[in-house]
Symmetry: C2
Subunit: 196 residues, 2 copies
Amino acid sequence: MEAALDELIAALRCLPGVGVRSARRMALHLLERDRQGGRRLSQALDVAVETIGHCSVCRTLTASDTCPRCLDAGRDRGVICVVENPGDVLAIENATDYRGLFHVLLGRLSPLDGIGPEQLGLDRLEQRFRQHAVRELILATNASVEGEVTAHYLSEMAARHGIRATRIAQGVPSGGELEYLDSGTLNQALSGRRDY
Amino acid sequence: MEAALDELIAALRCLPGVGVRSARRMALHLLERDRQGGRRLSQALDVAVETIGHCSVCRTLTASDTCPRCLDAGRDRGVICVVENPGDVLAIENATDYRGLFHVLLGRLSPLDGIGPEQLGLDRLEQRFRQHAVRELILATNASVEGEVTAHYLSEMAARHGIRATRIAQGVPSGGELEYLDSGTLNQALSGRRDY
């Protein structure tokens, strides 16, 4: 076999969800039908890997020391939304009209894996509590066990600073049919019911 | 948003089967968890796009003028297997112990799209008929309408040179259950039955 082709197929497998067969299909597609796309991807990877780091304030991915979001004077500095990953920031920004700031944990509390408050940048978050008049901390960690534990820890931290902590709603997803929901979600939806 | 991240997400979409969401997931995965993999992929793409071309004999993808397979003296020069794409060569090489040579059409006959015998390198294939004592031409084009038309054309070409043409078998795929087969396959399987 061809070494350069083998190496390209092997390298494509570092992408999540890409197995041997997909990697082979991608490699052949690029070489047979889209060499320009291959060149573009190579360059974009180079630039991104070399320039993108973490924001010194909110820890999301950025090519600057402080991300454009944290520098944006039009955003409400009184609200901080805490999420687990940079992908969660993108999801919220794309789907909602949220105009506050973020704090990205880059993980979740997991003492067994050695992930405590320091690894999640919570010292930096407390600094921000002191620097700005933060009114509300939105807990937008995942609805998993670790996400809930982390949200609980953050709510206690907020309480110590006299800041209101809110948790994003859990319940029936938009378009969801009750018949097909798991019991955990259905219980959340029922116990979290609101006046109509 | 970050320009370098946006560009990486856009560039990843040139991969087949990758939409906006997968591209975003891939970009974040590389930046958050596998920068080394990102660097490796960038370089592998560079090398592959710049060095890999088509073999001057069989037209498969190769970084040399003539691919290692065509140069391999241990292969039977009397048998040529005709396939549509370089991926078919890989599939046959990985799955079978075929030790003859190949001819890659890089397409299939499609007069309406302006794809005739010249575009498929059939002049070069006929040269090979004359240069070497080719005994058998294995028609391994896809089992689609165009694949069948192409196979038929190739069989007539082989006949003109007094070469035996064979077609790969069509029928029930390995592990296939009759109950779930389409009628075309079932008809092929029945009409192609062999003594047991």
